[in-house]
Amino acid sequence: MKKLMAVLAAMAFVVVMAGGAWADVSGTVNVNATVSGKCNAITANDLTLAIDPATASDVTSTGADTTVKCTNNKDFTVTAVSGTNVGASGTLSSTLKSAGKTDIPYTLTYTSSFTGAGFGAAAATTLVTATAAKVTTADANAAEAGSYTDAVLITVVY
């Protein structure tokens, strides 16, 4: 009986060893990632309008572009607001103000929506160009002398 047990044990051992030699063990590991839509701080630049009231053409602003970098291939919307004036379809109609003087109407064009290009070395998206602000000839002709200003809040929503 003992001899038989020894033989059976040996056979079992051989079977186990044989199985361990040629059986594959595989599995999967799931790696999940979420890339959130984000933007970095807007690089904002003020604009200047030098209005010659004798002009025979519209006056456009000078300065530098206002830009931002946002997540690659994600869509973003942009709003432009000045007081109670809210931009629509990429154009904000507002007024330049100076105490005691008549307001000067002007328009500001801006990028109302865009697809992000990514961060790092990716090109920044221009939200407002240096020449985005415009005063019409008629409004320039009617303007009173002085210094005027307006503040516009540009917001990228994601």
Binding site: N40, D46, T55, I104, L153, Y158
Partner: protein
């Protein structure tokens, strides 16, 4: 389960409509409006002026074309005038007028007729005008007055003239 699924869908829709975030910045749009004036039309008078030497009253001669200028809206400016044949030099033109003006005969230069040049368009009678903006002409309201005594003393010639220079100061 059906009710829960429906509620979950509604809640999910509301949540999806809420923006995840935003970034904002303020930009200032600054403007500077300069001060300037521009002549739109040169003034002129009938040529020749027909001076009545027998009248006992001052004679006034309105312009045939007023001097028109455009200046930045609200700009206060004055008009200085000088007479080529008189002694007036950069005198402020008012509705009351500037004396020291003279019409001179070209054939008899010693024969002159004194006159007064007026700018009736001044805002306050002191020679101050206010620009109406570059979309509106401002008329200076120029005119000439000749006193009865100067007309009565005038020697007959048909070649009296003077050149008046107007300078706008602002």
């Amino acid at each position: 389960m059906a009710a829960l699924a429906a509620m979950s869908l509604i809640a999910g829709s509301v949540f999806a409509a809420t923006p995840a975030g935003f970034t904002s910045a303020e930009i200032k749009v600054n403007a500077q409006v300069g001060v300037s004036c521009q002549e739109i039309q040169k003034g002129s008078f009938p040529s020749p002026l027909l001076i009545d030497t027998q009248t006992a009253a001052e004679q006034t001669f309105p312009n045939s074309a007023d001097e028109l200028v455009r200046c930045t809206k609200g700009t206060v400016f004055t008009v200085k005038i000088s007479s080529a044949n008189g002694t007036a030099l950069d005198e402020t033109c008012t509705s009351g007028g500037v004396g020291d003006m003279a019409l001179q005969s070209s054939s008899w230069p010693s024969d002159v007729i004194s006159y007064t040049f007026t700018c009736g368009g001044d805002t306050d009678g002191n020679g101050r005008f206010t620009g109406a903006g570059y979309n509106t002409n401002k008329a200076l309201g120029i005119g000439i007055k000749i006193a009865a005594a100067d007309a009565q003393a005038a020697i007959a010639h048909n070649d009296y003239s003077d050149t008046v220079t107007l300078t706008i100061t602002y």
